[in-house]
């Protein structure tokens, strides 16, 4: 039996030039954000327990709690809104096709009866308001000609809806049934966000023209604006009110967040500027914010979430992050129990079991990562060009990288663990033996090589081809001598791994089968490992060489025990939405897996 023990969740997916919207529930101290097709519910006091809702068929853009905290409405790029319950396993209440294009913002009315959704679409359907349970439209929303970026409901009577968009307009509608009242043309660039104050007296609009304007909520008259001294020097992407309606938090492309004091006559003055720049690069542009209870939460373009405490704004924030894209590789560094995960966009993240996020390793020379292997002192990676990089790792910090050009794109990289200077890289036409950063030999094998493994002492190499055959070679100096060819697999070999005690090796293919072989006799040791239904992506051995875990595109992880028949396996279903791409054992009872949903999960195995 396997139980989920920790989830290292993904970061919100961000896009340059646009803000993102995160929301939360003050009562349960949780925040909601979206990545890919999943909506993530994270509890600020329990960061390792994350709930994921993955029922959307298209990438999700925004999700919000209803005012009573019982329902969540989430919207995606196809224009569909799904309303589902917070408890009771996210039971779906209703789903509606609201707009004909992507939905950018969604708000509940204060009584929880109506929902307004705005976004992109053709012609009339840029904004729609509907009853939450029946979906019937409540009002006509003309007045915008381009994508509507944000909308909000006035929380108190008389009810108003305000919308703003790429046509630089801010429109006010009154109702219900909602009708166009007036249009405000004070901004000179995209209006990114509009929010009513919780007491219903004012609303603020922020724009890419670096200004923030404050209006009276009932009449729409301009009351004042953010003072220009100490103001933002970049587009302002989002704004969030303090629950007592006296202060707001804004975030901007100038990499800072500012807390403004809003006076009764509607003018804003900067109280504090919060800078959380780490590297000063584009990734530090802030794109989302939320003011909840005593926390100020900001999200950067690179996916880092910073939480400041209102009681002490000078204190450094607690920050955490995650991957934003498919996590393709996962390794465990033995001596300090850290896990390294990497995604194809070149981001490597360190995780510590029990704690979570422990830091990012971003190396300027490595824009993309396809294969990654790590031992204690260094990381070897390859991307989509012909280079293999070796980066020394000391105490978690990267040294200078050196690279070697192997002639064509590397398909698989394997390190001889006991003598890590030796590496075997497989390419489309053969294999390349590396010693340190020098090519020892480049051997053309005559068949397309898909996976390779080199024994820990560097004396033997196993190469798998697209035809499903496993070739075993003995390595002497710079030549390979073929010892045996094993034919059992029915699809291209995807992974080959030696067991830690080097007595066995396991191979997995694209036809959902994996096999464990005895190294000395080349005989099949464990047969019928056929319990997946799609291509196998990854394979891992437990440190005591008794368990083999396989992960597949079918989202499941299956763990087999050597010595027992394959049918007595442990299956973890739906480990990662979209497919499992990385697997490793932390110790004999804990497996960590990573997948296309950009999360990393730790599972605890228990004996039945």
């Amino acid at each position: 039996m396997a139980q989920l023990s920790e989830t290292y969740a993904c970061a919100p997916s961000t896009e340059r030039g646009r803000g993102i919207l995160i929301s939360g529930d003050p009562k349960s101290n949780s925040i909601l954000y979206c990545n890919g097709r999943s909506v993530l519910i994270r509890y600020l006091d329990r960061p390792l327990h994350v709930h994921v809702y993955g029922e959307h068929g298209y990438p999700v853009t925004v999700a919000r709690y209803s005012p009573n905290g019982e329902w969540i409405a989430s919207a995606d790029v196809s224009g569909t809104v799904r309303i589902w319950g917070t408890h009771n396993e996210f039971v779906l209440k209703k789903d509606f096709k609201v707009l004909s294009g992507r939905i950018d913002d969604l708000q509940w009315s204060a009584d929880g009866m109506r929902i307004v959704a705005c976004g992109d679409g053709k012609g009339k359907s840029l904004v729609r308001t509907f009853m939450w349970d029946s979906g019937s439209t409540v009002g006509d929303f003309d007045g915008h000609s381009r994508r509507v970026l944000s909308c909000d409901f006035k929380p108190t009577r008389p009810f108003r809806i305000v919308t703003c968009g790429e046509d630089f307009l801010v429109n006010l509608y009154e109702g219900p049934p909602f009708k166009f009242k007036l249009s405000i043309r004070d901004h000179s660039n995209f209006v990114n966000c509009v929010r009513f104050s919780p007491d219903g007296n004012k609303f603020i609009t922020v724009s890419s023209d670096k200004k923030g304007l404050i209006y009276d909520a009932k009449t729409g008259d301009k009351m004042g604006e953010f003072s220009s001294e100490d103001g933002h020097t970049g587009s302002i992407y989002a704004v969030s009110w303090n629950p007592d309606s006296k202060q707001v938090l804004t975030v901007s492309a100038d990499k800072s967040a500012k807390v403004w004091e809003i006076s009764e006559d509607g003018n804003g003055k900067v109280v504090k500027t919060l800078v959380c720049s780490e590297t000063g690069a584009v990734e530090d542009m802030l794109v989302g914010c939320l003011w909840q209870n005593d926390h100020l939460i900001t999200v950067s373009l690179g996916g880092i979430i910073n939480i400041f405490s209102t009681s002490d704004l000078d204190q450094a924030p607690s920050s955490f992050s995650g991957h934003m894209k498919n996590v393709t590789t996962l390794t465990v560094l033995k001596n300090n129990q850290k896990m390294l995960s990497s995604s194809y966009d070149g981001i490597i993240i360190r995780w510590i079991q029990g704690v979570g996020y422990s830091g990012k390793i971003i190396h300027k020379d490595i824009p993309q990562i396809k294969c990654l292997v790590a031992v204690e002192e260094e990381i070897v990676t390859s991307g989509f060009d012909n280079k293999v990089w070796r980066i020394p790792l000391s105490d978690g910090e990267c040294g200078d990288a050196e690279y070697v050009d192997v002639g064509s794109q590397p398909m698989d990289v394997s390190l001889a663990i006991s003598s890590p200077r030796l590496a075997l890289v497989s390419t489309d036409s053969g294999v390349v033996l590396l010693n340190g950063a020098k090519v020892v030999s480049n051997i053309k094998l005559g068949f397309p090589v898909t996976a390779c493994a080199i024994a820990p002492d560097g004396s033997e190499a196993i190469v798998g081809g697209r035809d499903g055959k496993l070739h075993i070679y003995s390595v002497s100096g710079d030549t390979l001598k073929e010892e045996a060819v094993l034919e059992k697999h029915r699809g291209a070999i995807t992974v080959i791994e030696y067991s830690p005690d080097v007595s066995m090796f396991a191979s997995a293919d694209g036809f959902h089968e994996s096999v464990v072989w005895d190294r000395a006799s080349k005989e099949v040791k464990l047969n019928n490992m056929l319990f997946h239904t799609a291509r196998l992506n990854c394979l891992a051995w437990s440190p005591n060489s008794t368990l083999v875990a396989t992960g597949s595109l079918d989202t499941c992880v299956v763990i087999y025990e050597i010595g027992k028949p394959a049918s007595s396996r442990i299956t973890i279903k739906h480990a990662h939405l979209g497919g499992v791409y990385g697997l490793a054992f932390i110790d004999d009872l804990n497996v960590v897996s990573s997948g296309e949903d950009a999360s990393v999960r730790v599972w605890r195995l228990t004996q039945e």
Binding site: R490, N528, L530, F531, P565, A566, S567
Partner: protein, 130 residues
């Protein structure tokens, strides 16, 4: 495609007298004949082992289990074993004669088609029975 009388007789014995755990059938010379009989003490693993890995077979298995209300029940499964590694001609022959053969055996409760050993594992059989 003829069905040998022995098949029907052995099946009736399994149903009425319960002296076999399973019967494996083979198509030989345009006829369905009995290939192997399993005694009442044989297990499901013995049953799985009596299938060749690259040839098709038919089989019936008598599955005993205890329900939630604590009653001993018995269900007869018909298994069409058609592994992916067998020849296409054999798969075609077995597939086309399966229906007619099944009609001759009266009293089958569940049917299962397996193309590799994972598709006829014991938990799938248990899930169908409950």
């Amino acid at each position: 495609m003829a069905v040998h009388d022995d098949c029907k007789l052995k099946f009736l014995e399994l149903k009425a007298k319960r002296n076999f755990r399973f019967i494996v059938f083979k198509i030989e010379n345009q006829q369905v004949v009995v290939e192997k009989l399993g005694g009442p003490s044989e297990t499901y693993d013995d049953f799985t082992a009596s299938f060749p890995a690259d040839e098709c077979r038919y089989a019936v298995y008598d599955f005993d289990f205890i329900t939630e209300e604590n009653c001993q029940k018995s269900k007869i499964f018909f298994i069409a074993w058609s592994p992916d590694s067998s020849r296409v001609r054999m798969k075609m022959v077995y597939a086309s004669s399966k229906d007619r053969f099944k009609r001759e055996l009266d009293g089958i409760q569940f049917e299962l088609q397996a193309t590799d050993p994972s598709e006829m594992s014991l938990d799938i059989v248990k899930a169908r029975a409950f």
